[in-house]
Each structure stands twice: as structure tokens, then as C-alpha cells.
Symmetry: C2
Subunit: 195 residues, 2 copies
């Protein structure tokens, strides 16, 4: 019923903290290299730790992904707050979206996890996703209030567009990166037509 998501926390004992950090570092490297489905046993051995230790700190793959991406996404939310203060709401929105796409495609498979977490509470990343949702919605509302973005666009739709762009970027990992242009097309598509 309550389906509490497991959020990994830095353990109390010194050796525990050491291992926690080592695992996280190894995981970031492995995810970057092999995507979100990198071998957990590889990550453990890369961190110089037995597999059981990894599972002690991060009982599920999702928990590990969440921990590995938390910082980046926190920054994204923080940056949104800074942008809100800026002069041009459309510039703020587009800048934030560009940045979001980059973060969403940090490694292969991440967008899918985030998209899943967005509307599924009981997922480790849900909290962070909700925060991003709020940030994006605020920026969107501001741009709409300024009459710069079509008023019928909902935050959910904005995130679909964002995720789509991130997914395209993720696919194109090797070679051609269509995501910049993708986002440009989308942005030009949703801005109001008074140019």
C-alpha cells in the first residue's frame, strides 16, 4: 500500500561509507560505459567489494541508479530556480530544457527509468522526478504567462517532448546526434507565432 521507495543513504560506520562511495563511483563509470543495465557484479568487483555488499547498500538496481544520478538532477532543479529569476521566461525555459536533455541522457537507459519514475511513486527516482516536474512546470507557466509558449501545452506534454529528445540523443550515442536539432524543432513548434 504505502510502497515506500528505498532511497540509499550514506551508512554510519566508516568502512560502510568507504564501500558505499566506492560502489557509487564504480557504478557511475560502468553506467556511462555500458548503460543502465551494466553488470552489478562487475560494479561490485570494480569497487573491490563482494556482491552482497553492493546489495546491502543498494537493494535494487533502481536504487543504485537513483543514487548515481541524484547530484546531477539536484543541480538541474537548482538551476531552474536560478533561471526563474532571469528576465526572459522563454529563454529560461529553453535553456533549462537543453540542460535537462543532457542530464536525462547521461547514460543509455536513464531516460526510460526517469520516464517510468515520473508517474510511478514507489520508485526510488520518483521524488527527484517530481521535483523536476515542478521546476519544469514553473518555467513553462512563466513562459506561457508571458505569451511566448502556446497556452494549451501541459507540463506532462512538455516532459514527453523532453524525454523524446533525450531518448533520441541516447540512441545516437555513437555518431550523429539529432537531439539538438530535435529540441530546436520542438521549441520552435511550441512557441507562439508572432515572429
Amino acid at each position: 500500500m504505502d510502497a515506500k521507495p528505498y532511497i540509499a543513504q550514506r551508512p554510519k560506520r566508516a568502512d560502510g561509507r568507504r564501500n558505499y562511495d566506492a560502489i557509487l563511483a564504480a557504478a557511475r563509470k560502468a553506467f556511462e560505459a555500458s548503460g543502465a543495465d551494466a553488470s552489478l557484479e562487475d560494479i561490485a568487483s570494480q569497487a573491490g567489494v563482494a556482491i552482497g555488499t553492493l546489495y546491502r547498500h543498494f537493494p535494487t538496481r533502481a536504487a543504485l541508479v537513483e543514487a548515481a544520478t541524484r547530484d546531477g538532477l539536484e543541480n538541474l532543479v537548482a538551476h531552474a530556480e536560478r533561471l526563474t529569476a532571469g528576465p526572459d521566461p522563454l529563454d529560461a525555459l529553453t535553456a533549462w530544457m537543453r540542460e535537462a536533455v543532457v542530464h536525462f541522457s547521461t547514460f543509455r537507459g536513464l531516460v526510460g527509468i526517469l520516464a517510468q519514475s515520473m508517474y510511478d511513486e514507489g520508485t526510488p527516482s520518483h521524488a527527484m522526478c517530481s521535483a523536476m516536474h515542478r521546476s519544469g512546470a514553473d518555467l513553462l507557466r512563466a513562459a506561457q504567462a508571458a505569451g511566448r509558449v502556446r497556452p494549451d501545452l501541459t507540463p506532462e506534454e512538455l516532459f514527453d517532448l523532453l524525454s523524446g529528445a533525450a531518448w533520441v540523443r541516447e540512441q545516437a550515442a555513437s555518431g550523429r546526434d539529432g537531439s539538438t536539432r530535435f529540441l530546436q524543432l520542438v521549441l520552435e513548434g511550441i512557441t507562439t507565432r508572432d515572429d
Copy 2:
């Protein structure tokens, strides 16, 4: 060097054909239910066949996916040709895109495979993807020639938008389907602004 993609073909002996068909039917069902990463051993046993037999007919998962989706995509290409003859090139393009999104998201994981195959020869689905690329490019060119779609849009970009929409649809499998609206936004975004 030549990296010939393996395209499964219906075998000569009667028992071979029987099994080939049974496997294909089981695969379609399994992919629909569990996505492109459904268990091949399950598919084999569902088809009443040993695992080695499955591998005989479809040496890789990609080959099986290709065979399982060939018909649908062939229809898509055929439909494009019929649409080309129609009166309104923009209607033709949008109708085709809508249909394409549906086919691309027949089951979870397919868009990714197709997006990969699009520019990677030596993949079983590459041939079919190229055919679709041509179809889409033709429809796009026609709509652009009629001045209905922004002239700087390339076929590659069109497919990125298409794939993005299909991916969103695939994600939303359970519950909310954002892809219709996604495609609408994209389409309104790329049409020329004379309304």
C-alpha cells in the same frame, strides 16, 4: 567487411516450415506481452520446439524481431505508395506518420531496434528501415514541394521526431498515452505558418 545481415527465410522442408511458423507466432505473442527482450527459451517451448530449433531458424534475436515485424512494416511502405497518389500531400504525410508511430511501437523495445537499424547496415531490419526511410522522404518532399511543411526539415529529422513519438507511446503502455498529442504538437510545429 561485407557484414551481410541474416534475413530469415522460410525453410524448404515441411517440418521446417511448420516450426518456423510456430516460432514466429509464439514470438509475436511473447514480444507483445513482454517486449523485445522476451525469453527466447519461453518462445521456443511455447512453439513446441527445442531451443536449438529456434536458433536454427533465427540465429539472433534481431533476426527474429525482423521476421516478426516484417509484414507490418511492409504494409506501412505499401500504404505510403498509395498515399502518394492522394490529393493533399500534408494529409498524406500526417496520416502516414500516425500509422508509422503505431507500427513502431508494436511492442516495447521495437523503436530502439528500428532506430538502430536505420543507419546500421548489417542489421536484419536495415533493409526494411531503408524502405521506410525512402517512403517517408518521398512524402516529406511532396509536402514540402506543396509548401505545407518547413523546407529545412530533413528526412533524418523526420524520423527522429517519429521515433521520439513512438518511444513515448511505448513508455506509456500502461495508462496515459501521450503519443497522439506528442505527434500533434510535432506536426503543428513543422507545418508552415499560414493558417
